[in-house]
């Protein structure tokens, strides 16, 4: 039972990280209908920025997280302006190819500048709590609390502020949003900035218990895609619930089935879902 609860905790940790990454993806998809393959690179850049802010400049963990979020939000907006905006009317194949181009470009740059070796992000929170036979590393608790507060914050932002409402409006109905005078460029830039910041924060939270390396974003990106297919492209609650589903199945599957193949569990789910329902779960209307 304790072992099981321990896995549940791990699942919650993974799920909240995946959920944050998937949130950014699903927001961008909801607004622009672009599956942003470059999102994994944003996650990776976030981890590197935080790492160097802490190790080289000696900033505090939280300051480093804010710096990473700001830098990656900027990178994300630049990508939107320079790449996705000019391609907004191109055939769908083109923006996908461009997005992968961005992903591989960033990976290669990071690898050239900092090498391919693994690094570990230091964290000030190394205590390990013991509670009812469970080991609760502080960093994991921080991840869960941090991720869920961020999700709650995002929810409030989208629901309660004017800018947030414009994002939702545009996701709901593009033409309608234009008719009431919403500036599409501004919303697109905002969305990309938020998605970038979320990815960077997720990476900074997760990097202390995982590692930092150039290809670190790829698996996370693929799982985030699985999540938004599971939860419905563009759906915010779907991204959070889907993230938890994938997190739990990975933690439990990795423990009870096979640790080697735990990364395949998410994809196994994807194949199963799409074989049964090609439109993904929870999606409405056309494919």
């Amino acid at each position: 039972m304790e072992l099981f609860l321990q896995q549940v905790l791990n699942g919650l940790t993974l799920g909240s990280i995946y959920g944050l990454v998937a949130l950014g993806l699903t927001l961008v998809y909801g607004i622009l209908h672009v599956p942003n393959f470059a999102h994994g690179a944003l996650y990776m850049i976030g981890a590197y920025v935080a790492y160097f802010a802490m190790v080289d400049i000696g900033l505090n963990y939280w300051v480093a997280m804010v710096v990473a979020a700001a830098v990656v939000a900027m990178v994300s907006v630049v990508c939107e302006r320079l790449v996705f905006h000019p391609l907004r009317n191109a055939p769908p194949i083109h923006d996908k190819i461009a997005a992968i181009g961005i992903l591989l470009f960033f990976e290669a740059v990071v690898q050239m500048v900092w090498g391919a070796d693994f690094r570990r992000l230091p964290t000030p929170y190394t205590e390990i709590f013991h509670f009812a036979g469970l080991t609760l590393p502080a960093q994991r608790l921080l991840i869960i609390v941090g991720a869920f507060s961020l999700m709650a914050g995002l929810h409030l932002y989208l629901k309660k502020t004017m800018t947030g409402s414009t994002i939702i409006a545009m996701a709901q109905n593009r033409e309608g949003a234009f008719l009431v005078g919403i500036d599409a460029n501004r919303v697109a830039m905002m969305t990309f900035a938020i998605a970038g910041a979320l990815a960077a924060i997720a990476a900074t939270l997760f990097a202390p218990i995982n590692l930092v390396y150039p290809a670190m974003g790829n698996l996370v990106l693929l799982k985030a895609f699985v999540i938004i297919i599971l939860g419905g492209m563009g759906s915010i609650p779907g991204a959070i619930i889907g993230g938890l589903i994938i997190g739990f199945s990975e933690a439990l599957g990795g423990f009870y089935l096979s640790n080697d193949y735990k990364d395949l569990i998410a994809f196994g789910l994807l194949v199963a879902i799409l074989s049964i329902k090609p439109t993904g779960l929870f999606t409405r209307g056309v494919r």
């Binding site: 194949i93 992968i100 181009g101 740059v109 050239m112 790829n218 895609f225 395949l264 799409l274």
Partner: protein, 346 residues
């Protein structure tokens, strides 16, 4: 001028290219250059496969490198672990490519646009993870060494670079010929119709699923056979063959040459292969150049070299038409010009 542009797309031009390819080893500075060219041909065969599913049929398959790896591993496992000869293993690689392609195609091609790309990206990744983790079958991260080279017959000994070059050239010619036959047939027009609009194609009575799966399986057979040849010449393979980078290299070759054109894959592959030759030490970081180049290509030059040439010629022809109709600029929202839909393929 007209004579020149027409010659460039005539069959005489293709024979001329073939002639050049045949004499190339005798004018090449050394064996290394012959080897590079042979490898470029191997990749070009795989790119022709990608051209069928992505260029003609409009479905971005991001698992293409995975199928290349399946072909390479089929040959490697059968020749090294089961003492097969190369040619039977080569056939088996083609069958493996077809079978896996059929299974993946049946599941994935029910999905539209984005879902299909995401799904195949995941499939590519699954192939990579399986190759890496299933050590009992694939030797895991160690890779497989001492793969048998293709057995020669008569005077041919394919362990020699020169003979191997001609072998690959032969396969490439078959690949180009087959692509041409497909693209000029009703089947090719069916694929293009699906790319332009699958709803319209379906309303014309085209069986979408059957045609898409057919295009997909054709493309995976090409990829697997190219992988099999690759295994036979390099004689060492590892999980890296299934890396997404390879898929992306192929997309780059295809885009530079001209997506959905007959000569695009070979033009793009040769140009980039030779352009990256001086980047030898830079190979690992080639995406620093490739990445932005691809972004610029899809924004400003989505038709590639061959496609742009065909579009330019079509515009000229339209301007010179005796009835001065409104010149019809080929819309940039198409990745292929209409001109390539006639009989005059570049």
């Amino acid at each position: 001028m007209n004579a020149v542009t027409n010659f460039l797309t005539s069959s005489a031009m293709r024979w001329l290219l073939l002639g050049l390819a045949i004499v190339y080893p005798f004018v090449a500075p050394g064996e290394y250059q012959i080897y590079v060219m042979a490898m470029a041909f191997v990749w070009a065969i795989a790119v022709y496969g990608m051209n069928i599913i992505t260029g003609y049929c409009g479905q971005l398959n991001l698992a293409h490198g995975g199928f290349f790896a399946i072909g390479a591993y089929t040959v490697a496992i059968l020749t090294v672990d089961h003492a097969w000869l190369f040619w039977p293993a080569f056939m088996a690689a083609g069958v493996a490519g077809a079978v896996f392609g059929l299974v993946v195609g049946l599941i994935s091609l029910r999905l539209k646009e984005h879902y299909f790309a995401i799904f195949t990206l995941c499939v590519g990744f699954i192939i990579y993870i399986l190759i890496e983790k299933w050590g009992a079958l694939t030797h895991g991260t160690l890779g497989i060494i001492n793969i048998a080279p293709p057995e020669g017959f008569g005077v041919f000994d394919f362990a020699r670079t020169l003979d191997f070059y001609y072998l690959v050239l032969g396969f490439l010619v078959v690949a180009v010929w087959l692509t041409r036959r497909i693209s000029e047939s009703l089947l090719g027009r069916t694929f293009r119709a699906i790319r332009i609009s699958d709803d319209l194609a379906a309303s014309l009575g085209i069986n979408l699923m059957r045609n898409k799966v057919l295009a997909f399986v054709l493309s995976t057979i090409y990829a697997a056979l190219a992988g099999a040849l690759y295994a036979g010449v390099v004689r060492f393979i590892g999980p890296a063959e299934a890396d997404i980078l390879h898929t992306f290299d192929m997309i780059a070759y295809l885009l530079v040459g001209g997506i959905g054109t007959l000569m695009g894959p070979i033009v793009g592959t040769l140009i980039i292969t030779w352009a990256t030759q001086w980047l030898q030490s830079f190979e690992e970081y080639r995406m620093i150049i490739f990445g932005p180049m691809l972004v610029l290509l899809v924004i400003f030059f989505p038709k590639g070299i061959v496609g742009s040439f065909l579009a330019w010629r079509a515009r000229r022809a339209a301007r010179r038409a005796t009835v001065p109709a409104r010149s019809s600029p080929v819309s940039t929202a198409r990745s292929t010009p209409r001109a390539s839909e006639g009989r005059d393929h570049a």
